[in-house]
Symmetry: C2
Subunit: 105 residues, 2 copies
């Protein structure tokens, strides 16, 4: 299977944190991301490359820096695999309710 690698990529907590960081602010460099994570540069780089190989992150070189961007397309594909149009309606309402309750504390 091809999407196997996407799920494997998402299985690691460090890689999910990288996606979270890029979700907060797109276009960060390896260095910027690394200082947020308690790990050597090499570890972070390995994780970033995995995310890039599977298409969850896309990058663009700029001089000696490399900017990273989150690509949500594979995430949406996971959603569509197990949630049909009918369930989606229910579930998005459920999510909205949950967020509402959290907002109200």
């Amino acid at each position: 299977m091809e999407d196997d690698r996407v799920f494997k990529a998402l299985a690691d907590p460090t890689r999910r944190m990288l996606l979270d960081l890029l979700f907060q602010r797109d276009g960060q460099t390896l260095k910027e991301l690394q200082v947020e994570i308690d790990m050597t540069r090499f570890g972070v780089m390995k994780h970033l490359r995995i995310l890039e190989n599977v298409g969850l992150v896309v990058s663009k070189r700029s001089g000696r820096e490399k900017l990273h961007f989150l690509n949500p397309v594979p995430i949406r594909a996971i959603h569509d695999r197990w949630i049909d149009k009918y369930s989606e309606h229910r579930l998005s309402a459920l999510g909205a309710l949950k967020r509402e309750l959290e907002r109200k504390g």
Copy 2:
């Protein structure tokens, strides 16, 4: 993190196949699921238990049988983590990434 186990559960191809089988037809027993998968009963059982522990599958005993059902809520949670309302709109069309990259230039 708590959702760590959900992503770990989704990382295995056999477990995703189990979810696919339940997505096709809910309420299957271990035996029914096992004949679809080239693996011993024990392996399938282990995978099913993992899926159940993380909430991706819920089950109901019926005599000596145990019926399994797919629960899409954790899948939706993954979606909501990295896709905001605006992106969701865009993503319904394919090729969103291409446009995104062109926009970022």
